[in-house]
Symmetry: C2
Subunit: 414 residues, 2 copies
């Protein structure tokens, strides 16, 4: 992609109305635009990151048997009164049509998927079933001051599992836990992300969160120094010893919740009479689990974790491009031809390149923009590198650069 | 994908509360589930079709320079009062938060993209720009009786173009027209889809629709028998002669509008003061175009066009799977091994197969389900084909079947 044609505009200043690191960086670097508090447009750069995150999640959820579908945002009031959440859920957006019929704007989809699955299963032989979607969710957040970490409208992956027995749910819950670890590892925050025992709300005693250490975190967690299982501060008092290994040596950290998995039990299946005949021919209420990851929140968290004073530093697997090629110096004919050749050759080798071919922009500005955007590899073509028939390559976040041939560069990046 | 594990359940009857062919077929065949009038869940089978449609559109829109982004559904009231559509747009869903601030649920995004682009452009050199998204839209439809053809919530591709001159818009409008033709051709409705001159609404004298001939159509069009340009009945009176070739020989057809492109002019740029400096340094209000395709409507239209008394007949490019492999007869060890081998081998050859490995289902039911779902190629393994070491292959919608080797089948399908 040629930067001269890209929907991109250098912003010299950080936005004044944002206090969070992620929103300040992501707005200034053109990944998102703020429409209002907690509501963002994903610009082309940011949308590429979201699509990479989405694909990582899709691969890992498909690998544990997930089947992708897509449920509506407009949801009948009756479904929400059935579970009692029409009244109890504070942050539910409600909509009316002309006939005064009321709808919820989906903040989550238990109220839709439970009656849906009911239409499809009769027998214990029809279970287990794992269904998920990527979808825009709506929550009437009072405080939406954390950039992409807490949105009024946000993109979420929600997976729901349906089982005939608690054992089967427990088994799948373990698989989902591992899939989540894989996802956060691949997204570049694995080292900083800890499985955290948290309150189970009204469903069960405990749930599990995936908490990423960051000063921007709204949660506090206690990480076991022996086995790394963490516990959320909200239930630390009742967990003096680690649930994983029994040790009582913890360190305290601020953290961002990037994922949450719940054993719902029959909380949502019971009100909808979602049941199957078991192997004795008796009715058995279906046991459910749910597993969420906020994609926009994950993107915000990656931005919080991977940055320096110059800007963002994207992990390769979620970077908007593989490499950022900068044409430095006056774009005379020779140099232009050379830059073009490098750009085309990399594209042929399936390296996804953002090519800063802008004219009338100083070298300093181009370098500053490249650091701000934070694409993993910075490539420079200039009179100097042209003379050597090579390209300068530098990794974002490192200081040393090298002069390499095109072939060497393709190998290094792949 | 093994059908025994797939989220799928044969429905013997058509749904009673749907009158449209597309919804009756798509619900019974497990592509969609109806949540309420005009609001559908896309089940795994249907979501695969949607993703294929999305990819075709993405490729064609990227090819004409489109850059993909993603804008919010929750939109500030102020943006809509600026254009006057807060009051004038009848089918706008409105939402309030706790502080009584009001929002629109986006039925379209001119009110968001115009002020967004304003932040990114200054000079005529920054134009043209082409931005698009795939997104859930909301419209308070009074009559939502046409299945996926007219939804209250529906998935749409909306592309917006920004130009410094009318000539530049005209030029891009032609390119978009060709891209749309490519899309409908690839989606399998090219032969039945006609560029149709229609009213330009409040923006310009004319717009262009893409109308697909179908008895389910809510529009009536007059197709020129000489050059195939059509004209919508609503403006036929003022178009006695064909705008394309001047002939006056038309045939009348019912048709479904699957796409619509508009020259917006300055209708939405002017209220937001979206302007650039032209090459003389003078302010020039930006000229816009917009280009929509409803993906769910397109899926519904394909279903209306491609079906017979047995069920759906998907064009290959948008089919949920490439082939439907049926294990027929008692699944004894030999036959099971053979079926498994065929299934695995096809997968290795990148043929996406739905494998009907269900036990205790009669041959008649499996054949009926296969016809109902409408995957392009039906493959059968049975005692008879096993004895020959071959697989029976039949194209959906055709009568003749053949016994072929695995190798021949892979070639035929690809």
């Amino acid at each position: 992609m040629r930067q001269s044609k890209y929907f991109f505009r250098t912003q010299k200043e950080f936005p004044k109305d944002e206090s969070s690191v992620n929103a300040r960086l992501l707005i200034r670097a053109n990944f998102v635009d703020k429409l209002m508090a907690g509501v963002y447009t994903f610009l082309p750069l940011g949308w590429k990151v979201m699509k990479k995150i989405e694909n990582i999640i899709r691969e890992e959820i498909n690998a544990i048997g997930g089947q992708e579908l897509f449920m509506p945002s407009l949801q009948p009031k009756e479904n929400w009164t059935t579970t009692g959440r029409w009244d109890s859920m504070d942050d539910l957006y409600k909509v009316q049509d002309k006939s005064d019929r009321e709808f919820a704007l989906g903040p989550t989809h238990e109220e839709i998927i439970s009656p849906l699955v009911k239409k499809f299963i009769n027998s214990y032989k029809d279970l287990p079933v794992y269904l998920y979607q990527f979808q825009n969710k709506f929550r009437m957040e009072l405080r939406a001051k954390s950039g992409l970490i807490r949105g009024r409208e946000f993109i979420m992956k929600d997976l729901y599992s349906f089982h005939v027995s608690q054992e089967d749910l427990d088994d799948y819950y373990q698989k989902a836990t591992q899939a989540y670890k894989n996802i956060f590892q691949r997204a570049g925050i694995g080292e900083k992300t800890f499985v955290t025992v948290a309150s189970g709300g009204s469903f069960s005693k405990y749930s599990h969160e995936f908490q990423t250490i960051s000063p921007a975190g709204e949660d506090e967690i206690y990480i076991c120094n022996k086995c790394s299982l963490a516990v959320n501060k909200e239930i630390k008092a009742e967990n003096e010893k680690c649930q994983g290994c029994g040790a009582d040596d913890f360190r305290q950290e601020k953290a961002i919740e990037v994922g949450n998995i719940f054993k719902l039990g029959t909380k949502y299946s019971a009100p909808f009479n979602l049941a199957v005949k078991d192997d004795k021919g008796e009715n058995q209420t279906v046991i459910m689990g749910c597993y969420g990851i906020g994609l926009s929140r994950l993107m915000g968290t990656i931005a919080e974790v991977h940055n320096d004073e110059r800007g963002l530093i994207w992990p390769a697997a979620v970077a908007p491009f593989d490499a950022h090629l900068l044409l430095i110096g006056e774009a005379k004919s020779d140099l232009k031809v050379f830059g073009e050749k490098i750009y085309q050759s990399l594209a042929k080798n399936s390296v996804d390149v953002l090519y800063d071919d802008r004219e009338g922009i100083s070298a300093g500005e181009k370098f500053a923009d490249a650091d701000l955007i934070g694409i993993p590899w910075r490539l420079v073509v200039s009179e100097k590198t042209l003379a050597a028939g090579k390209v300068e390559i530098k990794k974002r976040g490192e200081k040393e650069s090298e002069l390499l041939t095109l072939e060497q560069i393709s190998k290094k990046i792949k």
